[in-house]
Each structure stands twice: as C-alpha cells, then as structure tokens.
Amino acid sequence: MLSVAELAYSYSSEKPVLANVTFAVVAGEIVSIVGPSGCGKTTLLKILAGLLRPIKGDVRFQGEIVRGVPAGLAMVFQEYSRSLLPWTTVTGNVELPLRYKKLDRPARARLVSDSLEAVGLSGFGQYYPWQLSGGMQQRVAIARALAYQPKLLLMDEPFASVDAQTRADLEDLVAAVRDRFGITIVFITHDIDEAVYLSDRVVVLSTSPTTVIDVITTELPRPRDQIATKALPTFVEKRSAIARLIRRRNADSLQHPAPRE
C-alpha cells in the first residue's frame, strides 16, 4: 500500500530533520508512528501525503512514486479547529472535497450522511464547527476524510488536544471505522499507549536527525477494549519495550546532542 525508502528531509541545509526513514504499510493495517517530540513526525506525515517533497529517498503509494498529493489519500490534522472551515457548516465541510469528484448530488448527500452517521454526528449537519466541542470537531474532520473514500488515511496526532475520555472514544472510533470501511490507517502520536492500543504495528522513531529504531508488531487480539486490552500482558510488554527504545535513544542523544527541529 505504502512504502517509504531512505527518506531524508531538512528545512535548512545544516539541520537535517529526517536522516533515513524506511518502512512499509500493508493494505488494511493500522500503523502508528511514535517518536520523541521534535523528531519530525509531522514532517514525515506531510511527505507521505505529498505535501512536502523529500530531499532524498522516495514514497510509493500503491506502487507509484508520490509527487504531489495522490488520489485515494485523506488526512486528519491535529489542529481540527484550523483544519475545519469556520465559514461553512458541518455538512459544508464534509461535502467540500466531494464536490470535485465525479459524483451526482444524491450520491454526494448519501456519502455525507453516511460518514456523519459513522462518527455519531447525525443531526449536526447544520451546525457550524465552532459551535461543537473539540472532540466533536475532530469527529467532523474524520467524517470529512471518510466521505472522501480514501484507501489510505493519514492522521497527525489527531487526539492530542482532547480530554482523556473523548480521546478513548475517538480511538475506538478509529478502530471501528477501519473495520467498517476497510481503510488503511497511518497514525502519528507521541502517546505510546495509544500507539500500541490502536495499531497492528508501531514504527518507533529516534530523535532528530530521525531514523527508524524498530518496528514492533503489537500481536494484540481484535476487537480491542480500553480496559481489557490494556490489561493484557502483551500490551504491557510491548509498551514497555517501546518506551525503553525511545528512552535509550533519548539518553544517547543527550550525551551527543542532535539539532532539533
């Protein structure tokens, strides 16, 4: 589905952000990318989406090298309040990307109502995004991405700025959405618990200049449950393993400080 080979990126010549990032995502997977703050996770996701060009290496989406945003890809941003357009309603926001696909009006309306229903926001179509809570706004952003019918959904720390309970609900929503729509999901987070809980595999990044330290398979059964899954020995073991990986690299980089993003 998605393969990333020897990716490198820097905003200025002396400070490389990404040094060498290589991993692959199989169709139908949920893959999380975790790493310490400032390791260029968002930069990496923008390159995956074709919003930024890497200076070295390449990204392939369904076998094709990514140059510019490919069709069949949707993105959910961390800053939901800035990513949703305040001048149009929830329906207007979800419908906007569909206007430029070859769809007739009834098909469009059906996609909008189906995806709002999938995120539990039926009946909120006429509200403006700013009339909703943070968690609901992020649901609108997810509905907008779902209505677009992507093959691959990229999510950039989508739940970093909502409260804990909302966050748990939204995590389960992501899992439900994957099961229902069969989308492949790449999920960026700095929360190791969230990464292990949601994913089939976790890509662990180092501090900047960033490389892939390891790719961990979570080996947890589905469907997952916020309480039961997190109590499984495998869950505890995996999250400790990832935490250790990140801490060890952090300690190394403190002795030899690397430039930050």
């Binding site: 919003l51 949707a74 800035r82 001048w87």
Partner: protein
C-alpha cells in the same frame, strides 16, 4: 419566587436600554439643541439654526408630488446622480481591489512586479488627479466615477493582499490534501478566509468614496450634491449650503450603518468562531 420578580427584571432591563440609548444619543441631541440656541441668539446669516436648515431641506427635497413619494426634482437632479456615481465608483474599486489584491496576495511574482508601482501610486492624493482625469476622460460622469474608484481602491486592495496572503497554512494543507482544484481553492478557501479583512477594507473605502464623490463634483460639474453646496455658497444661499452639508453627513452615516448590517450577516461565522476561541 414571587410573580412580581420577572416584571421587575423586565423593568430594569427596559431602564438599562433607555439609559444606554440616552448615553448614545444624549450628546448628539444636546449639541443640536445648543447649536439651535446659539444660532438663534447670534442671528448670523452664516449660521442658520437647525430648524431653519431642516425646513429648507424639506422644501428642497421633500416637496414633490405624492406620486413621486414627495421627492422633489432636486433629488433626481442632484442626490440620485451623486449616489449612483458613488456606488459605481465604489463598486469598481471593490471589484478591482479584490481581483488585483488576490493576485498580489497569492503570487509572489505578481507581488514583486506590482508592489513598488502600487506603493508609488498610493502616495498620490486622489484630488490632485482631477485635472488629469478631466483631460483624459472629459467632464462627464465617467471622470467622476474613475476618480472615486482610484481614490477609494487602496483600503480594499491592501486589505485583500493582507487577507489572501495570511490564509492559515493548515487550511491550505487541508485543501491540498483533498486535491481541491485551483478555482475551488480560491473561491472556497482563500477568499472566505480573507473576507473579514476585505470587509474592513471595503468599509474604509466607502467612507473615502463619499469624500471623493464631493471632491469630484466641485470641479467642472453641472449637478450633484457637491456642486449644489458650492453653487449655494457662490449664490450666498447659505441655508442651502448647510442643507447639503447635513445631507452628506446623513448619507455617510446611513451608508455606514447599511454596510455594517450586511457585514454582520456575511461575517456571522467569523464572530461566532472568534467568540468561541476567545472563551
């Protein structure tokens, strides 16, 4: 809860509203009353009292036949042409200002190409161009509309440049990630995002347009409110002159209120969104 309490609350709300109205209008009414008293005492023909001005204004503009809503010939000969030129000039300024401003705001190359010339042109006071415009465009309405447009374009233009240049990068990334075509990016993201700043510019431009309308009618004109004021002064019809000045104030005030009402509706989302993020 006793049944009188709600009515008490209503009474105090009414009192509050009355008090705020008294504060808003009190000074204005007081000043007009003072003007009336001073003018009547002085008895100077240069400063007729407001009642005199009001009486003359009715004679000039509101003494027509009922079939024309009591509007006199003066309304059709002077006020209407003035207002039409004002609206034509301002509309032209708004249309050109938004189009040019968007091009400059969204394209660095166009910005580098045009910015120095625009900064230079902006420094020219509009009224100074009246002689040039008369030479190029004659003394008809075209010249006056062009002058109003040229003089009032700057606030719209500069605010559009600023507004379209500072669209939130997250909104642009969102548009790009959904592969919105260029036209959609412009109409559905860039222009709505810039609208609050564009509206602010349009309002300043409207005030400038009123000034330029008067200036354009002071030279080589045969009708219009500005022409009437100047003509009345030459003919020593001082009450008529004051009527024109008061009329300009009324027009300026009304246009501004009208514009604010439209802006309020168009930018309802902006107030809502801002109120939420500030809370």
């Amino acid at each position: 809860m006793s049944p009188t309490e709600p009515s008490k609350a209503a009474t105090s709300a009414l009192l509050g509203a009355l008090r705020s109205m008294a504060v808003r209008w009190g000074l204005g009414v007081g000043l007009v009353a003072l003007w009336q008293v001073l003018a009547m005492r002085a008895g100077s023909i240069f400063f007729p009292p407001p009642t005199e001005i009001a009486k003359r204004a009715v004679e000039l503009w509101l003494s027509g036949p009922p079939s024309r809503l009591f509007l006199s010939d003066g309304v059709f000969q002077d006020i209407l042409p003035s207002l039409l030129r004002l609206l034509a000039g301002w509309s032209l300024a708004v249309a050109c200002g938004i189009a040019l401003g968007t091009a400059i705001g969204r394209s660095r190359r166009i910005s580098e190409l045009l910015d120095p010339s625009l900064q230079f042109l902006r420094a020219i006071p509009g009224p100074a161009l009246v002689p040039v415009f008369i030479l190029l465009l004659g003394t008809e309405s075209t010249m006056r509309i062009a002058l109003i447009a040229f003089g009032s374009i700057w606030p719209v233009l500069l605010n559009t440049i600023e507004g379209t240049r500072t669209v939130d990068p997250v909104q642009l990334d969102t548009a790009a990630s959904f592969r919105l075509p260029r036209g959609a990016l412009l109409w559905r993201i860039v222009l709505p995002a810039a609208m609050p700043k564009i509206f602010a510019g349009m309002r300043i431009s409207l005030a400038l347009a009123v000034i330029l309308m008067v200036v354009s009618e002071l030279v080589a004109s045969t009708n219009g409110i500005g022409y009437r004021i100047q003509n009345a002064q030459i003919m020593f019809l001082l009450t008529d002159m004051w009527c024109g000045i008061v009329l300009l104030a009324v027009i300026g005030y009304t246009l501004n209120r009208l514009f604010l009402t439209i802006e309020d509706r168009a930018l309802n989302w902006h107030r809502g969104a801002r109120g939420r993020s500030a809370a």
